[in-house]
Symmetry: C2
Subunit: 201 residues, 2 copies
């Protein structure tokens, strides 16, 4: 492999990121399902949570890893082989998005099995929430899905209603940070939570 | 395009990232050469600097943009059409890496023309510096270069000597942050600069 690089501290850890790994935004990562060989790399991300998009139980080795690293698992089961109904998919993606943009869960890793379709759909919807134009959202989706790109995923992303979700989130506990600089990052604001708690009593 | 999403502040800015845009690591981005249509998106990154890897003069519109946003341009001219000699390429990549990992220059955007070969080679060498195994480095390179992947770039990345560069940087002004957590991020440390300044007198 030719991939042994000597570390300065005498600790020769070669980092093997999971395939389809990438940084999505500050505190947000995406990948395929990490295997044990990837754990030493995953450790460097100092994750607080994982969003897992498959309906299958979380693999035992991964479960041990997250337990020992105090990582919270959020599971939103989306079928990978048979096509889920649009409304099931919508509910799962909406739920996952709420966890994803809550900075209290960061750093967070999103993964399904191969990091292509389910992960790509969630990231696509996040990009819409960040006001990316659709052609850029598609380009990113296709980067990761490659020749396996699915028109159904792309249609789902296109029709996913972020305006409604944004208003909903906005009125609850989130607020855009840095309006002035046009930064679209979502930031948790304590006072708003208080308000919504009072409102929901 | 179906990409108009109403922003909450009544400011309907649709973000159009440059093609091949991605976040490489905290404070480090990559893309193709930004066009004016991409400027409102680029603004959201709050860049401090740009690493430009082409020998051609920086496009006039881009120059105006970076001037008005107080962004520093670091140019390392690498030929795109004819193959540069390995030693020329090495010098350029080494120089660019030194700028790239200096957090005083972050947030930084790396770009060439299409964000495939020159940008991909620089990011590939950065990944080696971060101890990524070669197969993961190649996977990332190929994500962006696609069918245009060049074996010469991949050979260059494989043979690029990061051990020497790491020691050189390490002895100057940089130091790995978070050894304990195995985090490979490079951090600028003021006291080391002082030492190196004294040492070089």
């Amino acid at each position: 492999m030719g991939c042994i690089v000597e570390a300065d501290d005498g600790d020769d850890v070669v980092m093997e990121p999971p395939s389809n790994f990438s940084m999505v935004d500050e505190g947000i990562y995406r990948s395929s399902c990490p295997r044990p060989a990837n754990f030493s790399f995953i450790e460097t991300l100092n994750l607080r949570s994982i969003i897992y998009l498959c309906p299958e139980p979380y693999p035992e080795e991964n479960m041990e890893f997250i337990r020992s690293h105090n990582i919270t698992l959020f599971q939103f089961g989306i079928e990978g082989k048979t096509e889920p109904s649009v409304s099931t998919l919508k509910d799962a993606i909406r739920g996952a998005l709420k966890i994803l943009i809550d900075v209290r869960n960061h750093p967070v890793l999103i993964h399904c099995k191969r990091g292509k379709h389910r992960t790509g759909s969630l990231v696509g919807c996040l990009r819409k929430l960040q006001n990316w134009c659709l052609s850029s959202v598609y380009e990113e989706y296709q980067h990761f899905a490659g020749i396996k790109s699915r028109p159904t995923d792309m249609r789902f992303i296109e029709t996913f209603d972020v305006v409604c979700l944004r208003q909903c989130l906005h009125s609850l506990i989130f607020q855009y940070q840095g309006y002035g600089s046009k930064k679209r990052r979502l930031l948790y604001k304590e006072e708003n939570v208080q308000k919504s708690r009072i409102a929901s009593v």
